[in-house]
Symmetry: C2
Subunit: 360 residues, 2 copies
């Protein structure tokens, strides 16, 4: 199989972790006889430095022509203290989402048994946690009209039926393939947009009779996420609440360095570790590449390369089981970013040699 893969390393540790992701894609290509054609492009601070634009037209074109693309991270300390600066790295990300219609951000949250001790939460609260957040990504207050009047500022939040419907279908379908529970997070006791979400999703539930729908106010959800995260299976929510709740959920497993994400739309899709550009770690070969490598697994799933995705996840599990991890996950020194990537690559290539263990 031949596929076009866009590669947007971005800023900070982005290029380092993306390099490991590409090594893994290469290993999969070699093992399964695929051809992945990579096209690299600039985004974020790296793109501003070079072109003055956090999302140059060429980058957008690369993404549009890709079957899927891998994204590292964006952000540089020089922009941190002035969020009102005219040109900022994250504008590149927001524009990418909007222009490509990447309306659903999908974030699996898994508490790995071997890492429970790293979590800020008590072990009995999180053992077996396994859910996925569907966050709407191209609507709501992020993309509404915003501006200033003489003595005030405003942001408008809007949601249409169509925007709610398309992501809700994805979430219901995901629930059908999982534990058949969907939790809608909203603030329907205060917001009109939330009432629309609740009406629409409640009505749609009739089309998915085997899925149980639960509606939860966002303030309560922020508590439940910590009190009892095991109750969740598929979580569906709007853009702003999703930003907050999915980051909150990311602490459960004990490491941001493990969590992948997908942002999907109608055409191409984007795959991205949820961690940021982590400037302090840049160039030190200490960044955890696993979130990116698991994003590669989601990318393979998206391309319907299911066995290939399984292979990547098995290799990642082996690295965790064998303590072949970066310093964020180890009490001692930890291995370098590239060494962890090598281990995973070799595990994938070795699968080839050891024959019968393939694709279990």
């Amino acid at each position: 199989m031949k596929k076009k893969i866009g590669v947007l390393p971005g800023d900070g540790i982005g290029p380092e972790v993306v390099a490991e992701g590409i090594k893994v894609l290469d290993a999969i290509a070699s093992r399964f006889n695929h051809q992945f054609d990579y096209e690299y492009a600039l985004v974020g601070a790296a793109a501003i430095d070079e072109t003055g634009n956090p999302l140059p037209d060429e980058t957008l074109a690369v993404c549009k022509q890709s079957d899927a693309f891998l994204f590292g991270a964006i952000g540089h300390p020089k922009y941190d203290n002035d969020p009102s600066a005219k040109v900022r790295p994250e504008q590149g990300l927001l524009k990418l989402r909007k222009e490509l219609g990447l309306f659903a951000n999908i974030r699996p949250v898994t508490a790995y048994d071997s890492l429970l001790h790293m979590s800020p939460l008590k072990v009995d609260r999180i053992t077996g946690v396994d859910f996925v957040v569907y966050r709407e990504l191209t609507g709501g207050i992020y993309f509404g009209e915003k501006g200033r009047t003489e003595d005030a500022a405003y942001d408008h939040c809007t949601y249409s039926y169509a925007e709610i419907e398309r992501i809700a279908h994805l979430a219901f379908k995901a629930a059908q393939n999982r534990k058949k529970k969907l939790t809608l997070i909203d603030k329907a006791n205060v917001l009109e947009t939330s009432r629309l979400w609740r009406e629409k999703v409640t009505a749609m539930a009739k089309e998915y009779p085997n899925v149980t729908l639960d509606c939860m106010f966002v303030d309560n959800a922020a508590m439940q996420m910590i009190q009892n995260p095991k109750q969740f299976d598929v979580v569906l929510t709007e853009n702003m609440f999703g930003d907050i709740i999915s980051d909150e959920a990311s602490v459960i497993g004990g490491s941001m360095g493990l969590l992948p994400s997908a942002s999907v739309g109608n055409k191409t899709a984007m795959f991205e570790p949820i961690h940021g550009s982590y400037p302090q770690a840049t160039g030190q070969n200490i960044a955890n590449p696993i979130a990116t490598i698991l994003s590669v697994a989601m990318l393979l799933d998206h391309l319907d390369l299911i066995d290939e995705a399984i292979e990547v996840r098995q290799a990642v599990n082996a690295s965790l089981r064998n303590g072949m991890v970066t310093q964020d996950l180890s009490k001692g020194q930890g291995f370098g970013t590239d060494r962890v990537g090598d281990f995973i690559v070799n595990h994938i290539l070795d699968g080839e040699a050891s024959g019968s263990q393939n694709n279990i």
Copy 2:
């Protein structure tokens, strides 16, 4: 001293916990020779049942004429499944905040040493946690224009300079009296209102040179609240983010049943446990009265009855130390709501007898 105290018991366990709060106020009045004149009024589902209105005019009048008022909880299961119903209990609360100009919601978050084992968080993360959240309460997306178009819904978020300034002054002053650190939570990389908050609060910081200001994006704050809650001293944020973050923070200590709040404005002020109406527990004498009793302590502080407030807090600490607690805090049976109230009342009245221990 003579004071007018409004009493709005509300729904569910509201009346039960408020009854204990009033017992404590009576004990303080007797011990310190004050006169508290109570005026009771209906709010929430109780008010809808009786008058069709979640905030009858008489209730508003009672509050306006009070020096301060105690609020129980609102909400009844019969409204839970239909957030688009025309008349709902929480409209009473929202209208109360707006009509009385209660622009700052103040929520202390304390991890009590004797209760650390109850927290979903690991003990080392929370030992010594002691911060306070200042949430803006009468602006933002809660009170902006909202409505429907043919195929969409909208909510507008607006903040003026003046709205930001008045609560920011309160928060800076609180920080001056505490550990001198203020954390502003916003989403200044996306929202124009957040950029205004950050500009304004950053500029105001010059007036409070001994306070360190830290600005944090709300998604990061949702993580930090669990990863490292000890870093916070005074947290300042807008209405919607405050709703989410302060509820998230409430899980740290291990029990919602202990957390009080104040909602202050220019004239009267409201004091309210942060827990809800907890319908399942209604009438069973099992609700924890301590959140309400600590709200009474905040009420006394507000009336400048500082020694009296200390006395209440000491009595609460004694009940916690002595295991004189309701079932939510005890491994065994726990004591009844009224028994816990009695213990605290007696502790206050005994202080009188034991003379020299007063007002330590």
